[in-house]
Symmetry: C2
Subunit: 331 residues, 2 copies
């Protein structure tokens, strides 16, 4: 439930959308979904596993649902939003790093030459390293909190937290109202997501699984701190998603939601369990209201996942045809 | 809540004890605790953080409590119980490994010569490796479930799950009744604990943090499986406990419970946060009803932790003086 972390004004948009979603469940659990096949499939699945005495009944503790974040709960174009955070951090930290003015990829970034940044081999990795490691977890969380309250999307001029999908907020609330525990299982950084997922999605930090670097306990001014090291701990993408699910959650989901081939192994892992199962892909086919991309996309390919969904009859949401609205309306 | 995993008869003892603990909260939240300082300190802390409007009020989502397992929630003598599981697994697997009859440390173990086992350099590590890696997570969980339903403690002749501390079951239930989310943060193996913690402690798999090895996704008979690899992922002990808490929970506990120097960093990490905090050590000083050991113990040293608890006024429970009962009574 969004409580402790709801005190900031910037969370109001998503927060109110979530409250609205929760309040409206009684009438129609998914009001922003058209009455097409995906909505019917979701509701049929939830009714099937929650009906007491039925053969397919799933006890509450086993009702685990996992959601990818980028492209499934919020937008991910033109680049995953965590990269915009990293770029903005370089600009914020630049005064402390005069050498960046002449050192690539920082020089290009500071001049606003993104082509130049991407032309540097491992340029993005260097930017991620200086902006995501070398500080304490508390310092990093503060930087994320500051950024997410103020930074705006370069194309839509919305706060990034306004670019969450209203239909998915409703789905999260609907599942939780039916005893599901909702988790994020994302390729994005776990320390990047946790400061705001509770306020925006109602998903608390302990239910967020993501990519992570190693941490080291140190003492500073007599107090313990955790330092973020430039060493990979978990890449929570593709075959890393079942690993993240098992190591952090320890229970196989009965429902999983994604939007790209990076989520395919999570959906396969979910569907390979016994009893009733549900798998859903969000298909970005709405160039007008959001973005349109799938098989040919270089970063967020939806190709093998599409084929497997078709072959196995998994649910695929057309954002254009199945969703009435994309983003929460400004209150 | 102990639901799905409560169906096995072997869980009844601990399960009934837990239900009893939950039911009796209304009258006395901690009936197996004497009315001494530790009980008063626990209750005062819980009342302080749950009183609406008070300066020390802590919102429900922030009420995170972490518990060590071995020696804090159940006994750990003469050896941590996971080692008995490992030894029993060697015996169970021996028919498939005729070479073990002449290969140490297996030969000694199969002859019942434990001195011989411990005399082999890294003998225990070899035993842990063959019994905890090389199989799928599902296969391992099944082996744990089978063992924990039948194996008995070599000295007390009780099921290991009967050797949980009744006062701590009451404490877990009392905290949860007051909005706390209870987690295990143990040096023990996470895959060893998860199959039974929900039934025994009411702590679901996703709230269990423990030591772990790396996992690898593979396909067997067309289905995805996770293979347990002989590579360390997290040693969730000492300075690894704050790392485990941050990487798996992502939120600093406001209360932490341990019994040895292996828990000291977890308690320090907990106490270093702002606002009201609580730290408690269980002191094993009851040779008659359980075991007595502290500073001089080789495996479960309670020395630096004792000194810091004294210096900082943390709560230390004397099992002999502060607890009316140790283990749940047979129903």
């Amino acid at each position: 439930m969004p409580t402790a972390r709801m005190s900031k004004p910037w969370m109001l948009v998503a927060g109110l959308a979530l409250v609205y979603a929760q309040a409206s469940i009684a009438q129609d659990p998914l009001p922003s979904w058209n009455n097409t096949a995906p909505k019917k499939a979701v509701i049929a699945f939830v009714q099937r596993v929650t009906k007491p005495g039925s053969r397919d009944f799933v006890p509450v503790p086993e009702r685990i649902a996992t959601f990818d974040n980028d492209g499934t709960l919020w937008s991910e174009k033109p680049l995953p939003f965590q990269l915009f955070f990293a770029f903005d951090r370089v600009k914020a930290l630049a005064p402390q790093h005069p050498e960046w003015k002449t050192k690539e990829p920082f020089a290009s970034l500071l001049k606003g030459d993104m082509q130049g940044v991407f032309a540097v081999e491992k340029g993005v990795l260097q930017i991620m390293t200086v902006t995501h490691t070398g500080m304490t977890t508390d310092e990093f969380a503060r930087a994320v909190q500051e950024w997410i309250t103020t930074a705006k999307h370069p194309q839509k001029s919305l706060l990034f937290t306004q670019m969450v999908y209203q239909p998915m907020l409703e789905l999260l609330a609907y599942l939780r109202a039916n005893g599901f525990k909702t988790f994020i299982v994302s390729g994005g950084g776990v320390e990047f997501m946790r400061p705001w997922t509770e306020g925006v999605y109602g998903i608390p930090p302990e239910q967020v699984v993501g990519s992570s670097g190693k941490l080291k306990l140190e003492t500073r001014n007599g107090k313990p701190v955790l330092l973020k090291l430039p060493e990979v701990d978990l890449i929570d993408d593709k075959e890393g998603k079942p690993v993240g699910i098992q190591s952090r959650i320890g229970r196989r989901p009965i429902a999983a939601f994604g939007n790209s081939d990076g989520d395919l192994q999570m959906l396969q892992w979910t569907m390979a369990g016994s009893g009733p199962r549900f798998a859903l892909f969000v298909h970005h086919d709405d160039a007008k209201r959001e973005y349109a991309y799938d098989r040919a996309d270089k970063l967020q390919t939806f190709d093998k996942g599409w084929d497997e969904a078709m072959a196995k009859g998994w649910t695929v949401v057309s954002m254009r045809d199945d969703w009435k609205t994309i983003y929460p309306k400004d209150p």
